[in-house]
């Protein structure tokens, strides 16, 4: 399987195009089959992945616009491998969760999802800046449609805001990418957007700084970092369940992934310089959005803001710049994807039944829907980072790594475990505990087979990776270490070099 | 002695007169007159410069400008006629349905 990556990227596209022909009533089955095949393919990728190799694997390189150095260039390493698998998994489960009786125009939904899957997988596998950008931008389109077509009352506003906000940021990023290519051209005399070539590029610290900012514009909005996060509550608030699931699970990860794949290795000095800035923003983001989450009345908004808060933790991990923090934050990307995806699914389940997401409409759901409450409880615990669930591993590692950067910051960011549990438990209490306050809810049905099929695998993963994260952490660790070594090698200023080294090892071993 | 500058400045002044006419005219027909003035003004300049260089190109250009002006008149008047048929007026304040 030399071309496994291309197959992974283009299979959903092809299937999506063919999906136009599929009969309306069979669309969901079609979607499930395609997504399942895609997921199996991604598992196959994992199976044939060489976990000891830190570099890029399964690389493919086809020049597209040779004169301008744009090529179709893909590859996978430990960092991207699992995000790709997660994307495939979440798409599959999301499609399974779709309710045929509630979703008008299922075929369009399936086709958009398959296109979306292509772009997601494409973003994480691209090693060419322009191809990366291509998938990056393209991912907005199906999402726009999904939010806009199946969303809530102000869906159009939310969808357009989502699109424009992200689009604006990424255009600045594009200028940054073009500048890098130009600088490479100046130095090497050839045009290329090949990321691996760019890694060799030696940039002055000043340039690094500005380029970092340019790329920051694109990534930070996507993450979304405070104060660029306001599109997210709108998008989540209006999006249909599947939209929120994919948005939270995968699309947000593009931003943090971008930082890992681009900002850190390309601009080691600037990254080191920017540590205080980013970390300050992130810590604000963690605390501030967690508090805003607490103030929410709408269940989904709580989870939306909690996503922002958790993304802050991921950012902290990325800029902790040591194997623990960085590895942890990549793991946290996965875990946040799984957990927030599951939580959005769960909110979707209750929304489908009652048509509302306002917590005061609920109360005492645990008595009526015990299984639902149990699954929700498990996800909640994973979300607040309970050990032996997937959420703990990443959060622990991130905070651990961050401690080496800033103890005070860690204490501040660490409050996430407190305020995180405050809003989550409050949500749980308001909706699930207490007597049944709303008579309408008395006859709600518990999770049905379809919903269980979508949710139980996530529960299993939450527990499995919480107990035994090694198969995932291993490859991540290998690649992250290489990344850090490269960064240190590439850093120009001695201060940056020193910072990177000093963040790496425990004092005992220095 | 009349130098090149005299001709050119005259040409410029005539051009400005035409220019001003174009700007102020609301009657399309009279606006066309003003454009003719402008083109004629330029022709003087061409002829003068050509003369001072002892070169025929200027005269050539002027010649073609005259041709262009003539063609424009033909097309312009054709347009005016259909316009007049539809709007019943040549006033620019009337012919202003498309805006925004």
């Amino acid at each position: 399987m030399e071309h496994i990556l291309s197959i992974l990227i283009f299979f959903p596209l092809l299937a999506g195009i063919l999906g136009f022909v599929v009969d309306k009533n069979s669309a969901k089955a079609y979607g499930i089959s395609v997504a399942a095949v895609e997921f199996l393919l991604s598992l196959w990728l994992w199976a044939s992945f060489d976990t000891t190799n830190a570099g890029m694997q399964f690389g493919e390189f086809i020049p597209l616009i040779s004169q301008f150095g744009i090529s179709y260039n893909v590859g996978v390493d430990g960092i991207s491998l699992f995000i790709v698998i997660m994307s495939a998994l979440m798409t599959l489960l999301g499609i399974i969760l779709l309710d045929e009786s509630k979703i008008a125009n299922m075929k369009n939904m399936i086709v958009s999802l398959l296109f979306l899957e292509m772009t997601m997988v494409g973003v994480f596998l691209s090693l060419d800046a322009i191809i990366f950008y291509l998938f990056w931008e393209l991912s907005l389109v199906p999402m726009l449609y999904i939010i806009g077509a199946w969303g809530g009352p102000t869906r159009v506003y939310a969808a357009v805001k989502f699109f424009l906000y992200t689009f604006a940021g990424s255009l600045v990023m594009l200028v940054g990418l073009l500048t890098i290519a130009y600088l490479y051209h100046l130095e090497a005399g050839v045009w290329t957007f090949n990321l691996l070539d760019w890694y060799q590029l030696d940039l002055s610290v000043g340039l690094q700084f500005w380029l970092f900012l340019a790329l920051f514009a694109g990534f930070a909005i996507k993450v979304p970092m405070f104060p660029f996060h306001t599109w997210l509550p709108h998008a989540h608030g209006q999006a249909p369940t599947i939209g929120s699931v994919i948005l939270a699970a995968v699309l947000l990860k593009m931003g943090t992934y971008g930082f890992v794949r681009f900002s850190l290795p390309l601009f080691p000095d600037a990254s080191v310089q920017m540590i205080p800035f980013i970390l300050t923003l992130s810590v604000i983001m963690v605390i501030y959005t967690a508090m805003v989450a607490f103030a929410q009345k709408d269940m989904k908004q709580v989870i939306a803001y909690s996503s922002v808060s958790h993304m802050g933790i991921i950012m902290i991990g990325v800029f902790a710049m040591n194997a623990e923090g960085l590895g942890g934050s990549i793991f946290l990307m996965l875990s946040h994807g799984i957990v927030s995806g599951a939580l959005f699914m769960l909110v979707g389940v209750i929304y489908e039944r009652t048509g509302t997401k306002i917590m005061s409409e609920f109360g005492g759901l645990a008595s009526i829907m015990p299984v639902y409450a149990t699954v929700f409880g498990i996800m909640l615990m994973a979300s607040v980072g309970l050990p032996l669930t997937i959420g703990f591993v990443g959060e622990f590692l991130v905070l651990l790594g961050f401690y080496e950067v800033s103890p005070l910051g860690t204490v501040l960011a660490g409050t996430t475990i407190i305020i995180g549990s405050i809003y989550m438990l409050t949500l749980f209490k308001r909706s699930f505990f207490g007597p049944v306050t709303n008579e309408k809810n008395r006859n709600l049905k518990d999770l049905n087979a379809r919903e269980l099929t979508a949710l139980l695998p996530l529960v299993a993963i939450v527990v499995w990776l919480g107990v035994y994260p090694k198969p995932v952490l291993g490859p991540i660790d290998t690649s992250v270490k290489k990344l850090l070594v490269d960064m240190e090698y590439k850093a120009r200023t001695p201060e940056a070099k020193e910072t990177i080294i000093s963040l790496q090892r425990a004092k005992e071993e220095k | 002695m009349i130098g090149i500058s005299h001709y050119l400045i005259l040409s410029g002044i005539l051009f400005s007169i035409g220019f001003m006419g174009v700007l102020r005219r609301k009657n399309l027909l009279m606006l066309f007159f003003a454009t003719e003035v402008m083109l004629n003004a330029v022709n003087i300049a061409f002829a003068a410069i050509g003369n001072y260089y002892g070169d025929l190109s200027g005269q050539m250009f002027a010649f073609f400008v005259i041709a262009v002006a003539a063609s424009e008149v033909a097309v312009g008047l054709g347009l005016l006629i259909v316009l007049y048929k539809k709007y019943g007026s040549l006033d620019l304040d009337v012919i202003a349905t498309m805006k925004g």
Binding site: P435, K470, E508 | K99
Partner: protein, 636 residues
Amino acid sequence: METLVYIALFAPFVGSLFAGLFFARSPKNIIVGIVNPALIFISFLASVALAFHVAEYGEVHIKMMDWISVGNLNIPFGFLVDEVSVTMMVVVTLVSTVVHIYSNGYMDHDKSFNRFFSYLSAFVFSMMILVMSDNFAGLFIGWEGVGVCSWLLIGFWYHKKDVTPDINPAISPSYAANEAFIMNRIADLGMLVGLFLIYWNVGSLQYDVVFEKLPHLADGLLVSIAIALFIGAMGKSAQFPLHTWLTDAMEGPTPVSALIHAATMVTAGVFLVIRANPLYSLDAVAGVSYFIAALGTFVAFYAASMALVNRDLKRIIAYSTLSQLGYMFAAAGLGAYWIALFHLAAHAFFKALLFLGAGNVMHAMDDELDLFKMGGLKKVMRGTYIYMGVASLALAGIPPLAGYFSKDAIIETAFNEGTYILWFSLVFTAGLTAFYSFRQVFLTFEGEERYKKYGFHPHEMYKYVLVAMSPLAILAVVAGWFQETFHEFIIAVLPDYEMSHHTHHNAWWLGLLVLAFAVSGIVIAYKKYAQKGENAFKQDAEVENGFLYKLLMNQYYVPYFYVEFIVKPYTVISEKFWAIDKAVVDGTVDMIAKVLYRTGDKTRTMQNGNLSSYLNWMGAGALLLILAAAVSAVMG
């Protein structure tokens, strides 16, 4: 031996899954009621076997598998069974077994019977991880695990609705559960910081590695680590100021209170300090240790004082638990780790017994908890009266019961260390302890039969439950007699603590003094609360309106303070932040869009459809260009 370790560890886990997966949705199933206690009992047997093994051959240290390994961090699932952990294991599994059996009776009519057992067994499992782990991360797993189980169990009757604090200070079980969880999380953050400090300075989280390297670290660092870990311990063991959750946790079913909030989980903090004794006994952190002792003493007194006036059967026991935890910390802080552990074990027995007895009373009184509505129950509940009497005697430190030995040792330690203020406080608190314990017992069982007024029809608990409680009763009596055996057993890992000659010399009158306090406490209680007829206890409005009474009744206004100065401001700030988020952060974005749009609307006027003005624009543009040209030419 590995097998035994795994049996001890996983038997409760199997029980939890068994009850949880197979019977979650079915109604009460007696199989669960049999299988789960049996599994815990197996775990107990394994623990006992391990204890003998350890006594003979020393510790068992096994590594099950890797857990997290990233960068230089390597955390395995490893288990260390040494004297300390095996003690805890035995205590935990023993109390758990009893509580499990007891729950059969207590939860008899509850429709969530199976769920209860599932949670309870899960708790035991978490607790076992906590005590058996061979590294700090593993400890943290258990630490959080018991937290969650505690959350689940406190909120077990989640369907109850929220009421105002003057009706029920805990508001509702689910509220209390959340409070407990969040309070614990605050402390956990401290614990995590401690872990981070250890990792970055030692490079490992394994106990053996860490303790070996600790002495080489800088003093300041050691102090930080000690403080951070102790903050963790404060939360779990409900030390001031993180203590309010414990009394509210009484919202949970009584077996839970017995097991979690008296015998086992709340002692985890003490366990942590004992486990980390190589750290706390370092000279560099002597200040911290002394602070621990002082705080423990303070809490001992502070909690006891609140217990004096409370009318709630379970809350009194909860305060007493707090108070006893204070004793344990006092001992641990003063370096007498083995004494702390000894008191921990003894306390587990009699306190669990006390709680279970209280459970019987509640069961009999239809979950009524107000002491003033009880009285004279001894007639119908003789067995329970005996149990609670014994437990209270033990708690009060009356020889030859368990409490006498363990508590006396602590008080003696305080004397021995020359910390006389602590010593006297502890002695005085012992008197208070005796008073409030017996106030409670007498109000419940002696005196007028006030319950009749309220129309209760109390009845004794099932026989088998009473039988099942007997091991605890026996242990509450006899545990103290094995002090020396335990001492020999435990000093293999814990530093020995011997009283000085001087203390030995004074031991007799010290003991007598404590006893005197205790007995007088009981006597006063008897006088006041056990009488019938004319002297019968009556509520005294004058006292109840007194400042002191109100202060104590309102728990020194600490919960009030928390609500007014933390919870409410937090809510308000959150709302404000949300408003800011919408108006300012999001508003700015929308503003940009609006400004652009309005500009578009404004500039539209330029396109007014009039050719003449178009021509003017064009002419002006051309002229502008030329003028700019002229200007730039002049400038250039």
